[in-house]
Symmetry: C2
Subunit: 81 residues, 2 copies
């Protein structure tokens, strides 16, 4: 069993409307020091395998096929343990 | 200027419907090895301050007030540099 973490973020230069909205909300409740805010996704997976090389390859395929929209998003992943 | 990262995750024991849906989608396209998947939010912030202690305190307040719903979500944050 391998635990993995996947981070999916909006690419630089691509507008992040969710981030803009949250930043505006923070400003409006007094957190004026927030200069920028970008929101991404964070996924914790458990994989039923003990082969780290295979897990890494499969994770990459999952990101490319489903977890990230590679046109506007970047991804990175980490294996635990 | 301080860069910070905030992670907001669904608490253990709380149903994560988005994670369940994505796990089902991964299974249906051949990634049967995914045993569990939980989705959270990942935020990159830039704060206009150089006082790390103050930044930490303000970040905590932001999480408590707006970024996380502490009834069903956990949060943690990291300061860079």
């Amino acid at each position: 069993m391998i635990k993995a973490t996947v981070y999916v973020t909006v690419k630089k230069g691509v507008l992040d409307p969710q981030g803009v909205a949250v930043q505006g909300a923070l400003h409006s409740i007094g957190f004026q020091e927030v200069e920028s805010l970008r929101i991404g996704k964070y996924m914790e997976l458990t994989l039923d395998t003990n082969d780290r090389a295979e897990a890494e390859e499969r994770l990459k395929a999952m990101c490319e096929k489903l977890l990230a929209n590679t046109v506007v998003e970047d991804y990175r992943y980490e294996l635990e343990g």
